[in-house]
């Protein structure tokens, strides 16, 4: 009972403070002030692509060399699983009917064309039976499962409707020099 009373009082305190703050703001600020701030926000949003993060994604596409269906392909330096390139997808797209997991592990691979180190994201494609073609297991920078952001030995079908593993893709997130 005591806990219920404490919770009720806390809610009352939050409501009361929100009401007072809203009233105070309404008294101090005019409608024009609100509109001017909204304008500033829109102008700021328009300039967002000029920021360094967005510019790094806007640069030319990555130069590719090698066979994306081979485990030796440069993007797969920290890859573990079945290559989606052999299963109806590409190195950056899931095969038809599967679901792309938004939660991934990462690695850093060197592109032999330009010698630059790229930050890679390995996304599992999920919701179908395991494809089992072109198995690939590389461990550059791989860490144990307790350090899971860099662990390939994990089923990464999180945040998908169905959690069965189908295959894995490898996306470039940026170059290492840009992320430093």
């Amino acid at each position: 009972m005591k806990i219920d009373r404490i919770i009720d009082r806390t809610y009352y305190w939050i409501d009361d403070n929100a009401r007072r703050t809203s009233l105070a703001l309404a008294r101090k600020l005019s409608r024009r002030n609100f509109l001017s701030r909204l304008g500033m926000f829109i102008a700021g949003a328009a300039s967002f692509p000029l920021l360094p993060v967005a510019r790094s994604f806007a640069q030319d596409s990555v130069l590719e060399v090698g066979d994306p269906q081979s485990c030796d392909y440069w993007r797969y330096c920290a890859m573990s699983g079945t290559l989606c390139t052999c299963c109806g997808g590409t190195y950056s797209s899931c095969p038809p009917g599967s679901e792309a997991s938004p939660i991934t592990w990462v690695g850093t691979c060197t592109n032999p064309v330009d010698g630059r180190a790229y930050l890679m994201s390995y996304n599992d494609c999920c919701g179908k039976a395991v494809c089992s073609r072109c198995g690939c297991h590389n461990t550059e920078g791989d860490k144990p499962v307790y350090f899971n952001s860099n662990s390939s030995t994990v089923l990464w079908c999180f945040g998908t409707e169905n959690t069965s593993y189908h295959c894995t893709v490898s996306l470039v997130l940026g170059t290492q020099d840009e992320t430093e």
């Binding site: 791989d142 030995t153 089923l155 169905n162």
Partner: protein, 365 residues
């Protein structure tokens, strides 16, 4: 024509009479015999195959989900415990994670307890741990943050899910506690109360660096604690004294000029025999980040002397190993081509090969 018909009639009378002398066989179902020495379970994506390592004979099978990390047993109750995960339509549909209980006599499921659908779903022995008092089962979760589901096996109920950020692996210790390896280079001790709720949580000092030389997430139990090994082959022993975590100084079994040799394999790369203190590690020669390369040799190390006492060549190389705890122990090896082999763990001689389809690792029992 008359002769043929007479002959046919004669045969009709004779043949049934001949068969009538043999009693018809009836189908029946075996039950498990008394457990023998050096029995083990070969864990696969299909279930647990129960074998006698001495004879190579299979005695039965536990049907388990393909996502089962491991299966363990508690002999006083004559039961097996497995964490399992099922999707209602095979590869899609509603997911249900459970702890399933099987009886020893018939290897049949006798109870199941639903747990949160967060199980890590990797075939790793240390993702499942039975507390030494036999009361609680800890199941490792990844969602993707780490946590542990605790199940009370006596009362057959799920107790609670303990959040364990940055820590994985389950190493039962003392009566009702377990340790974990953490990404910040420490060990974590979680002590449970009699109901299975967390009573106390302790962190050790930092003793390794995950970037420079990570401790493997595969471990081996000792007589009073756990053996840990790093990617470069440094061995540590961890134990507890009440709520204190005790970690030995690290040491390497390498001789001069052997620096390139390091542990590796796709699954269980370390095993230990409690009574003799012998440690077995799958080793290969290679650069950094080859920690999943299978072992071209198994090094046998006397932990009392901190010295290597044997090298067992492996061809094909070893992916997963386990040693039984009997006085005449067997070393079990799963090789990189899917073969499974039994060695005398004290003489290091190979005794036999056993077919266990798609085995990933072994459980002693």
């Amino acid at each position: 024509m008359r002769i043929i018909s007479k002959l046919a009639l004669g045969l009709l009378l004779v043949v049934p009479a001949a068969f009538g002398q043999i009693p018809p066989e009836e189908i029946y179902v075996e039950s498990m015999p008394e457990r023998g020495e050096n029995w083990f379970i070969g864990t696969t994506g299909n279930g647990g195959y129960i074998f006698d390592a001495t004879t190579g004979e299979m005695h039965g099978m536990l049907s388990l989900s393909r996502y089962t990390p491991a299966v363990t047993h508690y002999w006083p109750r004559q039961e097996f415990y497995a964490a399992e995960s099922y999707l209602s339509r095979g590869v899609r549909g509603d997911r249900t994670d459970i702890v399933a209980i099987y009886d020893y006599e018939n290897l049949r499921p006798i109870a199941e307890i639903e747990i949160p659908n967060h199980m890590a779903r990797l075939q790793v022995r240390s993702h499942l741990g039975l507390t030494n008092n036999g009361r609680h089962l800890a199941v490792l979760n990844m969602n993707p943050g780490h946590s542990v589901s605790i199940v009370d096996l006596e009362d057959r109920v799920f107790v609670y899910e303990a959040s364990t950020p940055g820590c994985a692996v389950i190493m039962p210790i003392a009566d009702n506690d377990f340790m974990q390896v953490c990404g910040d280079g420490t060990l974590q001790l979680i002590q449970l109360d009699i109901s299975g709720f967390e009573e106390n949580r302790v962190r050790s000092d930092v003793f390794f660096n995950v970037i420079e030389d990570a401790v493997f997430d595969r471990v081996a139990s000792s007589a009073n604690g756990w053996w840990l090994v790093t990617h470069r082959g440094v061995i540590f022993h961890a134990s507890t004294d009440d709520d204190e975590i005790i970690i030995s100084d690290g040491w390497k079994p390498h001789l001069e000029g052997e620096e390139a040799w390091q542990p590796g394999g796709r699954n269980e790369i370390i095993a230990a025999h409690h009574d003799t203190g012998l440690i077995y590690i799958a080793m290969h020669e290679g650069p950094i980040d080859t920690h999943h390369e299978p072992g071209t040799e198994i090094w046998v190390i006397d932990s009392n002397l901190q010295r290597r006492v044997g090298r067992i060549p492996m061809d094909p190389p070893a992916n997963s190993i386990m040693v039984t705890q009997e006085a005449e122990p067997k070393l079990l090896v799963n090789d990189s081509q899917g073969g499974n082999h039994v060695y005398n763990a004290l003489t290091f001689n190979k005794e036999r090969s056993i077919q266990i389809p798609d085995a990933t690792h072994f459980e002693d029992f």
